[in-house]
Symmetry: C2
């Protein structure tokens, strides 16, 4: 399992288009720009608790989308096969082995 | 652009986890099992119009998800590069050319 911040960065990257503009803004400031909850609260003239609640809800939504669509899991699986494929090509592996990696990629979709 | 039925089959495949059980059931009967609206209406003891409205709404939702997440577009782009990659390997292309295809795949993610 990835570190929480890194994981949220990835999930935000994959699913941000499904969030509201406000959710996107808070998440982006908190996770990408490293603002504190207090700083975001000040910026938007709301309570720190309101920002905290919104971010927690958004995190739960992102996890729910990942549970349903598995975009992060599938991304990681593809990256792993691409690494194997790259290594196979750089070490002059037999074409059959290389084709097998390509078939694994096709099956993932 | 794909034929409407084929496109809906793909979109349903990618996004069905985001639909309600009823939406999934109607779409599956209509698009995968080729039931008519009347047959679905009879099966669920609702009006033909109710089935029609539900399916139209679901189709619009699937298109909206595709607009936001582009899973079908990205699937098609990956398949195209995988075809190029397969051809390159089968025709003994230079490793540099093959690595370029792999980089294109990595960039898509």
């Amino acid at each position: 399992m990835l570190d929480k911040t890194l994981r949220m960065n990835y999930l935000f990257d994959f699913y941000q288009s499904l969030l509201t503009p406000k959710q996107r803004k808070y998440m982006s400031l908190y996770y990408l720009d490293d603002f504190s909850l207090g700083e975001i609260a000040e910026e938007f003239e709301v309570s720190r608790q309101a920002v905290y609640d919104n971010i927690k809800r958004t995190e739960a939504m992102l996890e729910e989308y990942e549970e349903k669509l598995s975009l992060l899991v599938r991304f990681e699986e593809r990256q792993q096969i691409l690494n194997h494929l790259r290594t196979a090509i750089q070490s002059n592996a037999a074409p059959e082995e290389i084709i097998e990696h390509i078939q694994s990629l096709e099956k993932l979709d």
